[in-house]
């Protein structure tokens, strides 16, 4: 029942937040999401004892047979923890900011958390699909209604493109699920694992799944919605999108796509892994050219997840482990980076890198926090991303040396665009726009402290992550290579 509590608590929290009204909404949302984090830590303890967090299964719809089935192994639980950890941080990051209609805003954020946790714990394919789509609705409205850009028309178009693009991908996944149901007579994940499909069926179905996941992640060439959406959404929305939501796609690859279509994956793998690696290079090069801070971070995120996807498609245990560590690391780092961008925007009103400069002289605390986040993003040893990227590259290396070499460029290119961005925004001469840049407030500082603590704890001592995720990943790899 613990898992049911973890799943439904955010939904209750969303309703409560809406009920208490605009004034208290932020505080209530923060408090409740912090409680949710504590509950999920209890689940972690359970996992250590029993190897699996409580399962729950209940008949939801009799014909076709659909179960309300949820369960969490190590992989799911880590994703849930990432969600429950980041949501309070993200809520805290909006502290002290004027938000119109705050009760709706915060309850949408919590509703989003509900859907995300649902995606990570569902073991019935249909339930997974429902949560997958449900996550789209709150983020659509968050991005649409609370976006900061003045140009409303462009925002509507960009956010709408995002919605239709992801919906289109998901619908193909739905058709694939229905097809699987007609073969297996059930949506339960274990029944789907046990299916014996012909190679060509597997290829087609895997392609349909890939379409849905690749758009969400995004993998080249399905990324065109990403930069504009990240830019137009309010930063809280961008953090939810980049920090947690794109992990849905990566998680989907690991949990649903690889083990259900083992032969299809092996047949398609050269294409999939190449696309992922192209994304790494392509994203990095565009990031170097970007003049807009938020877009730069969007493209860097695109490059990073390309590497994670490549690690997953390498079908090695190192690749899998690296993917999990890097999913967590990327979630934390990207939230930190977007938060730094948000602070700059709050004080200067612009994301244009060329208009900034000399902030370090005025705000030393902010400069220190920002550089730590930047260093984590470029995978400096002792930060969380280092372990992840190392393992991912190792996994890719086992698959193919050349691909690994190309993918390895990400570290160099990442350092180029991140450090260049830091240099141009924080160092140099103070100008009229950055003059009067106030240093961090207490709530802002606490967000950074929490994130930076997470960065270094995971970077120095990542062993628990491997222990938690290990058995689940072994299982997935074994099923995939059966």
């Amino acid at each position: 029942m613990l898992l049911v509590l973890i799943l439904f608590f955010p939904l209750v929290a969303a309703l409560l937040t809406y009920a208490v009204g605009d004034k208290l909404a932020g505080k209530v949302a923060l408090g409740l999401s912090a409680i949710e984090f504590v509950i999920s830590l209890v689940a972690l303890k359970n996992l250590a004892h029993h190897g699996i967090v409580s399962q729950y299964s209940h008949m939801w719809i009799c014909d076709p047979k659909i179960f309300f089935a949820i369960s969490a192994d190590g992989l799911s639980l880590l994703m849930v923890l990432l969600t429950t950890f980041l949501v309070p941080v993200i809520i805290l990051s909006s502290w002290g900011k004027e938000i119109s209609n705050a009760k709706s805003f915060y309850s949408l954020v919590l509703l989003m958390q509900f859907a995300l946790i649902g995606v990570f714990v569902a073991t019935d394919g249909f339930l997974f699909y429902i949560f997958w789509e449900l996550a789209l609705i709150p983020i659509y409205f968050i991005a649409l209604l609370w976006g900061e850009n003045k140009d409303k028309e462009f925002r509507n178009t960009a956010i709408f493109k995002f919605f239709v693009y992801t919906l289109a991908g998901s619908l193909f996944m739905l058709v694939a699920f229905i097809f699987l149901y007609s073969k297996a007579g059930s949506f339960m994940i274990n029944d789907l694992y046990a299916l014996d499909l012909s190679i060509s069926e597997q290829c087609w179905l895997a392609a349909a799944f890939f379409f849905a996941f690749a758009i969400k992640i995004p993998i080249f060439p399905f990324h065109t919605w990403q930069a504009d959406t990240y830019k137009e959404a309010p930063t809280v929305g961008t953090m939810l999108l980049a920090g947690i939501m794109l992990k849905m796609g990566l998680y989907g690859l690991l949990r649903w796509m690889l083990p259900i279509f083992p032969h299809g994956i092996i047949a398609l793998n050269p294409v999939l892994i190449t696309l992922s690696v192209i994304g790494i290079i392509y994203g990095s090069i565009i990031a170097i050219q970007q003049g807009d801070l938020k877009k730069l971070l969007a493209y860097s995120s695109f490059a990073h997840v390309g590497l994670i996807a490549a690690g997953i498609f390498s079908l090695t245990i190192e690749g899998f482990q690296g993917a999990v560590v890097q999913m967590l690391a990327h979630g934390v780092n990207v939230v930190g980076a977007f938060f730094a961008g948000e602070i700059i925007f709050r004080r200067t009103g612009t994301f244009e890198i060329s208009k900034l400069g000399g902030i370090r002289n005025l705000a030393p605390k902010f400069a220190t926090c920002f550089i730590l986040v930047v260093l984590a993003s470029v995978a400096l040893p002792t930060t969380n991303a280092f372990i992840g990227e190392f393992l991912l590259l190792y996994g890719t290396f086992e698959y193919n040396t050349w691909l690994s070499l190309v993918a390895g460029l990400t570290i160099i290119l990442g350092a180029v665009y991140m450090l260049k961005m830091y240099q141009r925004t924080m160092l140099g001469e103070t100008n009229s726009i950055t003059a009067g840049f106030a240093d961090l407030s207490i709530s802002e500082l606490s967000v950074f402290v929490i994130l930076i603590a997470a960065i270094f704890v995971c970077g120095v001592y990542p062993k628990p992550i491997f222990e938690i995720a290990g058995p689940a990943l072994d299982n997935i790899l074994k099923t995939t290579l059966r």
Partner: protein
Amino acid sequence: MKALTYTSFLGIACLVLEIFNLRKVAVPFVLLSLAAIFGLNLTEWNTNQIYYHDMLRGDNFAIAFTGLLIIIAFLLVCLSGNFFQSEETKLADYIAIIIFTLCGAIAMVSFSNMTVFFIGLEVLSISLYILAGSKKTDIRSNEAAMKYFLMGSFASGILLFGITLVYGASGSFNLSEIATYATSGKVDAIFQVGVVLILIAMLFKVSAVPFHFWAPDVYEGSPTLITAMMATIAKVAALAAFYRLFSTCFINSFHVFAWVLSFVAILTMLLGNLTALNQDSFKRMLAFSGIAHAGYMLLAIITLYGNKANSLFFYATAYSFASIGAFAIAMIVMRNMKSEKIEAFNGLGKKSPLLAFTLTVLMLSMAGIPPMAGFFGKYYVFLDAIRNHHLALVLVAVVTSVISVYFYFKVILAMWTKDSDEATFSADMPYTIVSLICLAVTILLGLSPSLISSLF
């Protein structure tokens, strides 16, 4: 099928109320009676009775669709009190005609004899011709009525011709006797011609492409309440009758014409959704989206091959509630803004968040986004289609569903992101209540589709 008898009496009772000048009680009286008839209808569940020398059959299919039609009529009558304010002296007449429409629809879902089918269809159509022209001073309403009448009578003629040919070949109007003849192996060519003519007439009634040209003009010109009726009662009854015919007596011919019907369904889904993209008028957009929805329901009929009609029933229910709710809110907005354009919805999110939220959910349901009822409607249809190896049709349906998101979201965008200058906004109680009922049903069926997903 006592429901048919009692609704007929109810219609006559309405006219009597008019004679005794009891107009004021007409709406509550009819609502109470409809509720009673609904209950009575439910008691016949699983009895499978045959009425009037096998003219009507009270099988579960008939009972379920009758129940749905009664609920739809109930909601429409709720709205009619306010809608016909300007025509108060004729209120009871209009309500009587609405009830007669319901009679025709009930006959169309429960017939087991071709004559009853034809009479039902005519009662439904003639009532709608009158209602379409019920705004007597509005030239567009007149035009709609005239257009609907001319086109509809052609279709009725074709249908009658078809029934005659089938009678000529099989020697009977009775569905089971026709079915015996159709499976006997010695099927005359004129039988097939008759089936084709009936098919054409039915496709006309459900406004499938290429027999859809009347629908947008008639929908746009008619008073909004009547448009809601055409989009729900008439469409649902016609599709149910379609299924009833082609799952019993014409099932063999069905194999011959399946590819034609598949083609029609594809065209209907594509053209309905693509044309809806460019509409400025909310009513016209809903007309085209209604055409597209008819396409999805046709897909259900094609892929069922006479199997149980659960997916059709679910889709029809989800679609009807979403439509009625949307039309109810549209009536409020059109009254306030004096415009039928989608722009009239601008700023509704600020003026009335509750209504805007309701319409958002209903639009999401029509677009087929989980966890609303409309999603499960599409889902059941797709599931049946894939089970029966119609993958290509499903792929077309999926692509067109994605297209449809665009125009449903146009309304959502208008409500939430645009501002309007108009400050005053008032919503009449009945409209709000009806839209909230539709909202509740849409969400309830989305969360617990099992309630009605395996009735048969």
